[in-house]
């Protein structure tokens, strides 16, 4: 091959590369469009949301719609409710999973493997199937329309126990042995050795639990009967029943409800990718 044809081939390869990147960038922009449409409609008047023909951008940008939506509807309250529920579930899940995960990973007791199999088996049970009996249990405990009623039934999943067990198993036993010779109790070892070393796994469990609860819809919808106790996703649907739907405020509310997830996804993209890659590596085995 002559130098000139080599250079031509390199140029063609570079051009193809640029085209390839550009085409996917176009697809990605198209994919992001609903986000754009949401924000674009959040900052216009309601008349303009419904105006025909449709305009891509508002004629007047009403940026204070976010503030208005926040104050004219109890969005602040919805936000707080969602936060309390998601944070509480996450806290309980992490503590309970650390304790049980440690027992499964490091302690000997009769029936351990059988119990672990049982825990894994419950992961197969679809959530919707349990909704009705869970509601009846909450009802008989007098917890309908209370925070503990939303929080407790979802805080004891078995996934966390299994995830943390797997991670704890990868921590060398020698670290623990040394502490035990010094007379440290098991709880002490868990809190001051295992947990600090397991922050990646605990962070992952916290992240996914928090986001799942922040986005959860059906369970809070059923338990929280009063509008003042509604979470953000449930609060958004409350506007649908009003005679004149304030679409611009709903879009502002939807934007606000998506913000935490979007920020976390961008900030923690490496952690998320690694965790999903772990799944990919195991290939479901």
């Amino acid at each position: 091959m002559t130098t000139r044809s080599k250079a031509a081939a390199a140029r063609r390869a570079l051009l193809l590369d640029i085209l390839n990147h550009g085409a996917l960038a176009l697809v990605a922009l198209l994919f992001l469009f609903p986000f754009f449409w949401m924000v674009s409609n959040a900052v216009r008047s309601n008349a303009e949301v419904l105006a025909i023909p449709v305009r891509l951008l508002p004629t007047v940008f009403e940026w204070d719609n976010f503030a208005k939506a926040w104050t004219e509807q109890p969005f602040g309250r919805f936000f707080l409710n969602s936060f309390i529920i998601a944070a509480s579930v996450t806290a309980i899940t992490v503590v309970v999973s650390c304790l049980s995960g440690y027992a499964f990973a490091r302690l000997k007791f009769p029936g351990r493997d059988l119990l672990l199999m049982g825990y894994l088996g419950t992961l197969m049970v679809p959530g919707i199937m349990l909704i009705i009996p869970l509601y009846l249990i909450i009802n008989s405990l007098g917890m309908v329309n209370t925070f503990q009623g939303v929080i407790l039934p979802v805080a004891f999943g078995t996934f966390g126990s299994f995830l943390l067990r797997q991670f704890f198993l990868s921590i060398p036993n020698e670290l623990e042995e040394a502490a035990r010779v010094d007379g440290a109790s098991r709880l002490r070892i868990l809190v001051s050795i295992i947990v600090p070393l397991s922050m990646p796994a605990i962070g992952l469990l916290s992240l996914f639990t928090f986001i799942a609860q922040w986005n959860n819809f059906l369970w809070p919808l059923i338990v929280m009967t009063g509008a003042e106790n509604a979470t953000l996703p449930v609060g958004l649907t409350l506007f649908q029943t009003q005679q004149a739907t304030a679409w611009n405020y709903i879009m502002a509310g939807a934007t606000l409800s998506m913000l935490p997830g979007i920020v976390l996804a961008i900030l923690l993209q490496k952690l998320i990718y690694n965790s999903i890659a772990l799944n990919a590596g195991m290939g479901g085995r």
Binding site: D17, H21, L24, V27, A28, F31, L32, P34, F35, W37, M38, V49, V54, S97, L99, S100, Y102, A103, L107, K108, F109, V125, P126, G127, I128, M129, L130, I131, I132, P133, L134, Y135, L136, I137, P153, V154, A155, F156, T158, R186, F217, L218, L232, P233, L236, T237, I250, G253, A254, M258, G261, L264, A265, Q269, Y273, I276, A280, G283, G284, R285
Partner: protein, 312 residues
């Protein structure tokens, strides 16, 4: 060997065994206390509901009054008398089939495309992943505005000189709209999953194939696809399980309508249970859903022998 020596030889192991078992007992006690919070929660909020759900499905409980045991009457009513049930079942299977196939095809396509890039892989992954971290309800509301009469979707379609009636009020288009929204919201997770699996395919395999003259198409079908097939299988099973339970987007966008064109099993459980308070009947629908999930999962495990390659 003297008697003294003999007894010493006998008691020494006995003593260690005793100490060992005392240690084991203490470990067992510790394990019990460590497991206690989890065990209480799992028993009360997972095991008990599973059992209660089976029992309820054989009663006619309507939340008020006493539940009466009615045997398999709920199931008989489902399959023979309920005029809606077959529609709901067909809708659920239709949604699952269409959504599952499109999700896997699109996410594999995007994953391969992203992995062909030299720069910016990370950012493309984040972009396609974003909707999976946002509330489905908010997502569905935004799409509902786009599908509204005279809204963006109709405007774009008219510009392409294809006039569509109100999408969400049309018997056939409404379900397609639900599929589109679900795809937008759900395709990102599988894209990142498959992209991660593709990243793990050793570059040396692909290089060797390239030197042997394999085309890009061959390299995809004969090397990359078989090597990521365990992950592909995992993604397919998980996606099938979640899509059989579809609820949120239907609740917001169509409430099962028009007619019962988009009513699915998940929606029926909610409607019968929490709007009509037929707790027993709704529980039997939930068990039909569970049976479907089990059957579909079993079928996928059976089919995997034909297409999933494990390298060990």
């Amino acid at each position: 060997m003297t008697i003294a020596q003999e007894t010493a030889a006998e008691t020494a192991p006995a003593a260690t065994t005793r100490r060992r078992s005392r240690l084991d007992a203490r470990e067992g006690r510790t394990a019990f206390f460590f497991l206690l919070p989890s065990l209480i929660g799992v028993t009360l909020f997972l095991v008990l509901p599973i059992v209660a759900s089976i029992v309820l499905s054989f009663t006619n409980w309507k939340l008020l009054g006493k539940p009466q045991f009615v045997g398999v009457a709920n199931y008989v009513r489902l399959f023979t008398a309920d005029p809606q049930f077959w529609t709901i079942l067909r809708n659920t299977l239709f949604f699952t089939a269409e959504y599952l196939v499109l999700n896997i095809v699109i996410s594999v396509g995007l994953a391969v495309w992203i992995s062909s890039l030299k720069v910016g892989q990370r950012w493309f992954r984040v972009i396609f992943f974003l909707p999976t971290f946002t509330p489905t309800i908010a997502v569905a509301i935004v799409w509902m505005l786009m599908f509204a009469p005279g809204g963006l979707f109709e405007t774009v379609m008219r510009a392409l000189s294809w006039s569509v009636p109100g999408v969400l009020t049309d018997q056939t288009l409404a379900m397609q709209a639900v599929v589109v929204v679900s795809l937008w919201a759900g395709v990102g997770y599988n894209t990142v999953l498959f992209n991660a699996a593709l990243d793990m395919v050793p570059a040396s395999y692909l290089e060797a194939a390239r030197i042997d003259g394999a085309t890009a198409w061959d390299r995809f079908w004969k090397i990359r696809l078989p090597l990521i097939s365990p992950t592909l299988f995992f993604g397919t099973v998980m996606t099938a399980i979640t899509s059989l339970q579809v609820f949120d987007q239907i609740y917001v966008m169509t409430r099962g309508g028009p007619g019962s064109a988009t009513a699915t099993l998940g929606y029926a459980v909610y409607q019968k249970g929490f709007q009509n308070f037929q707790m027993g009947y709704a529980s039997s629908i939930a068990w039909v859903m569970f049976a479907l999930i089990m059957a579909l999962t079993a079928m996928q495990f059976w089919l995997q022998r034909k297409w999933v390659h494990y390298d060990n």
